[in-house]
Amino acid sequence: MKSHVERLPIDSDAQVPGREPIRYQPSSRYGKGVQEKTFWKSFKKCSMKFGLYIAVLAICLYSFFPIYWMMISSVRPSQRLFLDSSLVFWPPDFSSYVSLFQQTNYIANFINSVLMAVGTIVVSIVLSAFVAYGATRLRFRGKTTLVASMLFAYMFPPLMLAIPMAAAFRSFGLTDTLWGLLIAHLAISLPLAVWLLWGFFKSMPFDLEEAAMVDGCSQFEAFIKVVLPLSAPGLITVAIFSFLLSWADYVFALILIMSDQRKTLPVALESLLGAHDLRWGEVLAGASLIALPLFLIFIFCYRYFVAGLSAGAVKG
């Protein structure tokens, strides 16, 4: 097959009077120098990609290894926990799990955690949807400052909020109650939920609910029938973040809950670490069970999780 270079007419314009003849020059596209340049360019591109993959892999390993170690250690027999440091253990031994269920109030603590998480999700979604919708659609002075100040609570470590809360709850008779803990969890989850939904509603065109109002809805009906069904991704994001905040909370539960029956999972797990008896096998089994719902949520709701993070990052 003839090459493109050979087919090029040389001096094709030479006959045109008054025009400088165009001399043939080797096509730079096929020149040797350029070929080398292209090779280095693609090599550089490949190595950059490779480097990126290595970096991502390293970060993933760094993040996931402790979790993996927790899970693999939870299925090692207690007596071999500190003797065997192999990365893969087979067959798994579930004695730590059995012991955990036998020695602790795991089911009651699990129910407490679920109650707190579900309560936080439901109340956060309902209240934040109304507050955020009002903040985006109603006109009042200092609206933006008000919404921004809702995140004020995040400037302080949870412990700083938990101690005055414990004092306040004592006067209301909410000490050592799940209601008190729910209020504490809401204090953290609600501002974030309002912030997330505020960004979400702001980006939603007003025309849709106005169309619904012209169609015969009141503003409330337009919100319920048109805005809310369209806000499902935002509401799911709020649900995920509320769940994470409540499920993984340790500080509020530690300060506000005293009785074993009302403890949530993270605090109940802590009680296994006695002064003289460190039952690492059970602790790791319990920690793995706490992490399990988080894994499941992350796998199924990954899209909304990322959307929520980016919504918080760019909107507002």
Binding site: D207, L208, A212, M213, V214, G216, C217, S218
Partner: protein, 372 residues
């Protein structure tokens, strides 16, 4: 179908002290009329429409629809239908559900909803798209669904807020025709908001031209074209826009003329202008004529051939001037053309206020400041 009356309707987003988005808007819209609100961005045309729909509250004034005072009523109680610029179709609902939504909210019987939706779908050529979601439709189809959603409700009035501005030029012309046909068939009262003067001229039984929240002129399309009330209307209606030349009016022993630098144009009959008054002389590009008898010469700077017509840009006695002629292939940039100003086509405005100092012979009555 209903008559609409707007009495001194005003809107301010900053309280009673203004600034005013709409100020003292007075208009009577007859039953079955298609009124077009037209004007540049921010002139208050959409705000007025939204006040009629009930989506924006009036700061003052009264709105009545079919003799019923609706000023304080929410949109749902006004029995109006609205088509939005970006269609505002419910994305999660099918075409059928979009059209049926308004009827369901109002508690209509299922069979009646089905009958009305299918009838509207047939009339708008949507019967094969009823199961689709809005995202699966083209712009023109979405606009038809939006129209269908308004149609099924059998409202007193139709409000259309720049419904064609998101469509491409070809589709816009087609949809314009469809809206005109729909109006002719239904005989419904419609208010159409646009910033496109061609849409306004072709669709409207009457046009209301607005600027800075005030009505500049309201009237039939050709009335506005023939007898603009001020320089704004003169410039807004007509494409290319009217040539406007600032000069001075003189009455020297019965000879009336406007002098603007080297240009001197005779005015045929009495006007409201006083001798020595600063005036603006107006003539539409399509009304200029090439006449070998004329002493005025236009140097052509630019020639635009658009097919049936030839657009010229040039300089006449030091003034920039546009001219439109039937197709003239031989004209080139740099040519000098003898141009005449037909006296019956001239317009005269007060330079300070821009108001028309109408040349008497062409109008039935003088002074058309609708809302000054």
């Amino acid at each position: 179908m209903a008559r609409i009356s707007l009495q001194n309707v005003s809107k301010s987003f900053g309280g009673d002290q203004g600034p005013w988005a709409v100020k003292d808007f007075c208009l009577e819209i007859e039953d079955g009329e298609l009124i077009v609100f037209v004007g540049p961005s921010g002139c208050g045309k959409s705000t007025t429409l939204r006040m009629i729909a009930g989506l924006d509250e009036t700061t003052s004034g009264t709105i009545t629809i079919g003799g019923r005072d609706v000023t304080g009523l929410p949109p749902k109680d006004r029995n109006v239908a609205m088509v939005f610029q970006n269609y505002a179709l419910y994305p999660q609902k099918s075409v059928y559900d979009n059209m049926a939504f308004g009827l369901r909210v109002r508690g209509e019987a299922k069979q009646e909803i089905d009958r009305r939706v299918r009838a509207a779908a047939v009339s708008l050529d949507l019967e094969f798209l009823l199961d689709r979601k809005p995202r699966q439709l083209s712009g023109g189809q979405m606009q038809r669904v939006a129209l269908g959603r308004a149609l099924v409700r059998d409202p007193d009035i139709f409000l259309l807020d720049e419904p064609l501005s998101n469509l491409d030029a070809k589709l816009r012309v087609k949809m314009r025709e469809e809206i005109a046909t729909l109006h002719a068939r239904l005989g419904a009262t419609m208010i159409f908001v646009t910033h496109d003067q061609v849409e306004a001229m072709t669709l409207g039984d009457r046009i209301v031209i607005m600027r800075d929240g005030l009505i500049q002129q309201a009237g039939k399309p050709l009335e506005l074209y023939d007898r603009p009330a001020n320089t704004f209307v003169a410039g807004f209606i007509g494409s290319p826009e009217m040539n406007l030349v600032d000069g001075q009016f003189f009455d020297t022993g019965g000879r009336l003329e406007v002098r603007a630098g080297d240009l001197s144009v005779g005015i045929p009959e009495k006007t409201f202008a006083r001798s020595g008054q600063n005036v603006t002389l107006g003539i539409r590009p399509e009304h200029l004529v090439i006449s070998n008898d004329s002493p005025l010469e236009m140097t052509v700077n630019l020639v635009e051939q658009i097919g049936a017509q030839t657009y010229l840009m040039g300089t006449l006695a030091g003034h920039r001037m546009r001219a439109v002629f039937e197709r003239r292939d031989e004209i080139r940039a740099g040519d000098k053309l003898p141009i005449a100003f037909p006296s019956e086509r001239l317009h005269l405005f007060d330079s300070a206020s821009g108001a028309s100092l109408r040349i008497a012979q062409r109008s039935g009555k003088i002074g058309a400041k609708e809302n000054a």
